[in-house]
């Protein structure tokens, strides 16, 4: 029996040490996903907590088919989506025109020097709906049809949100790389 299967078995038996071990092993990766889907740390923290509670509560539904990490990630993303849907009315999609233009020149072809931390910061600056659609489409690989059902929007809106998200991201990335290059040259 592989180590992860032993841990899962222990978790199913209510062994607190195995539950903690499972958490310690995967929390950092899943917390990065939570941050990616949320605009603030408090919300990310809540998603991680609720996501793990669901993971432990539904472990007996995991059939050892496919990646366990992928299964946990899916639950975490679903938790983020639930959170998004429950607060849907509170979110305001900022008009694309109101977003401030970056100062530095965009550089679409040279992304060197950008680290994961920078990418996370950039993606978290997106308006909530754009961030949700971009994450589901570009990172998770869902289709617009699936996203429209998940986020409760039309396919057209999903496409439009994705397109706008990409434009903003390109500008931000350009801004980041431009600023970084400037800093290196100086």
């Amino acid at each position: 029996m592989s180590e992860i299967k032993k841990i899962i078995k222990g978790c199913l038996a209510g062994n607190r040490r195995d539950q903690e071990l499972l958490y310690r092993r995967h929390a950092s990766k899943l917390y990065a996903v939570c941050l990616q889907y949320s605009g603030n740390d408090e919300e990310a923290r809540d998603i991680l907590q609720e996501g793990f509670i669901k993971i432990f509560a539904n472990l007996d539904h995991y059939k050892n088919e496919g990646s366990f990490e992928g299964w946990m990630r899916k639950i975490t993303v679903n938790t983020a989506l639930e959170k998004f849907r429950s607060r849907h009315n509170l979110y305001r999609v900022d008009d694309i025109d109101s977003i401030k233009e970056p100062d530095a020149e965009p550089d679409n072809h040279d992304y060197a020097g950008l680290e994961a931390n920078d990418l996370l910061d950039i993606i978290r600056e997106l308006p909530t709906k754009y961030r949700m659609v971009f994450n589901l489409y570009a990172i998770e690989g869902y289709s617009h049809k699936e996203i429209s059902k998940m986020v409760n929007i039309s396919e057209g809106t999903s496409k439009s949100n994705l397109s706008r998200a990409r434009v903003i991201l390109q500008r931000r990335v350009g801004s980041y790389t431009g600023i970084k290059k400037k800093a290196v040259n100086e």
Binding site: N15, D18, F56, F134
Partner: protein
């Protein structure tokens, strides 16, 4: 979809793949305390604790009700020497006493006055059946002024020319039996304590952890009050301070890490232990271990090498230290009541966590690392012991009490696997009776 647009998707997909951020430390506390997570039942221990408390309370209630309540069949015996009545339960066990030999205190029976006291028995100053005066059924033990007939009923003894029994009214006031012995005592006790843990179950990880943990000899001490509820039984409480700890071998610590730490999280190193998870809150400390899974950190050996970074090596072990304030409820039963007395001791204690730290040592001094998360703020322990008591005067005695203590709930709420701490200590001290 244009080329740059596809690139931006790939940039984020690849850039964020396998990215990790350490979550805030309290997230696990929220998860572990959720009642939606399956937990191993601790029903047996809870039932045992409740049963022990109920038995203790029930027993004490029973004893107290027998000794201080209105006892219809108790008798008053005149202790001539001390000239006041005392309760004598032992007399009631004498089956040879007949109602004819015993005379009720009753003003309506003047013709029986000569039977109140037998002169010979008074001379001998012995408490016998003839000198016993029972209370009428339902009467309270305390005599009141209305019972002054007792004095007048004794007059025939004086007029008969026999030995005079000089009993005045005030002598007949009921004197509780506890005036005859010191019921209260106060004791100062201290003990070195050996602390360890029981582990039941086949959890390999727990066993691995336990093998690397060495219990430390600690100490416990405090003040105890006890109240004697009968000749043999007494109940004891007080306040004790207990310090416990254990040493974790195989965890290397280094100093000077702060300059290399560029993460957002405030705790980069966690070490699971049987008593909880150590979190290194000191930003200058770097921890690693040779064994896998011992130190949970994003700064794994392939990410950061403390030797290449020229960090200062401190030690290869960590020490966990906990302190508890203990409030015991102990019942003592005296088996031998001589100059050297022997007691059986048993009871329960509430232990309140007051201090929790983790440190390593360098040049004999302590180097703080952090603390242990997930410790139970309140632990319930049961204790069993054998107390030896040397009475070198009526008031003072020297005590020696080897005591075994078993913690009914584990110190940590975040770890499981039926690990239950226990401790053994030999308490010694002096007690004063009053």
């Amino acid at each position: 979809m244009s080329e740059p647009v596809a690139n931006i998707d790939l940039l984020f997909r690849n850039g964020l793949k396998d990215f990790e951020v350490i979550p805030p430390p309290d997230v696990w506390d929220g998860i572990s305390s959720s009642n939606k997570i399956k937990k191993r039942p601790l029903i047996f221990f809870r039932v045992a604790a409740v049963a022990a408390v109920l038995m203790t309370v029930g027993f004490l209630t029973f004893r107290l009700s027998r000794e201080t309540g209105t006892v219809p069949d108790s008798v008053l015996a005149f202790n001539v020497e001390k000239s006041y009545p005392v309760i004598s339960n032992e007399i009631t066990r004498n089956k040879t006493i007949s109602t004819k030999q015993i005379t009720n205190i009753s003003a309506s029976a003047p013709s029986d006055r000569t039977e109140y006291m037998h002169p010979i028995n008074i001379e001998k100053q012995a408490v016998s059946a003839e000198s016993i005066v029972p209370l009428t059924a339902g009467r309270n033990l305390t005599l009141t002024k209305s019972e002054s007939m007792v004095q007048s009923s004794l007059n025939p003894l004086q007029s008969s020319g026999s030995k005079t029994l000089n009993i005045i009214y005030s002598d007949l006031q009921y004197m509780p039996a506890d005036k005859l012995m010191d019921r209260w005592s106060i004791a100062a006790m201290a003990s070195p304590t050996y602390y360890s843990q029981f582990s039941s179950g086949n959890d390999a990880f727990s066993k691995e952890l336990m093998e690397s943990e060495q219990p430390l000899v600690s100490y416990s001490g405090g003040v105890a009050f006890s109240y004697k509820i009968s000749k043999r039984f007494s109940i004891q409480s007080g306040l004790y301070y207990s310090s416990l700890g254990q040493k974790l071998e195989g965890i290397n610590s280094f100093g000077g890490f702060k300059q290399f730490d560029n993460t957002k999280g405030d705790n980069n190193f966690e070490v699971p232990t049987t008593t909880g998870t150590i979190q290194a809150s000191n930003p200058d400390v770097f921890l690693n271990s040779n064994a896998s899974n011992r130190v949970v950190t994003p700064f794994t050996s392939n990410v950061f090498d403390p030797n290449k970074a020229s960090l200062q090596y401190i030690n290869s072990s960590l020490t966990q230290s906990f302190s508890y304030l203990e409030l015991p409820v102990i019942v003592r039963y005296k088996i031998v009541d001589k100059t050297i007395g022997i007691n059986l001791i048993g009871g329960l204690s509430y232990n309140l966590l007051v201090h929790n730290s983790v440190y390593t040592t360098i040049d004999g001094g302590k180097y703080p690392v952090g603390d242990t998360k997930g410790l139970n703020p309140l632990a319930l322990s049961s204790s069993l012991g054998m107390g030896m008591e040397y009475n070198f005067s009526e008031k003072l005695s020297l005590n020696l009490e080897p005591t075994f203590r078993y913690y009914l709930n584990p110190f940590s709420v975040t770890t499981g696997s039926f690990i239950h701490p226990y401790s053994f200590g030999i308490f010694s001290g002096v007690s004063y009776k009053f």
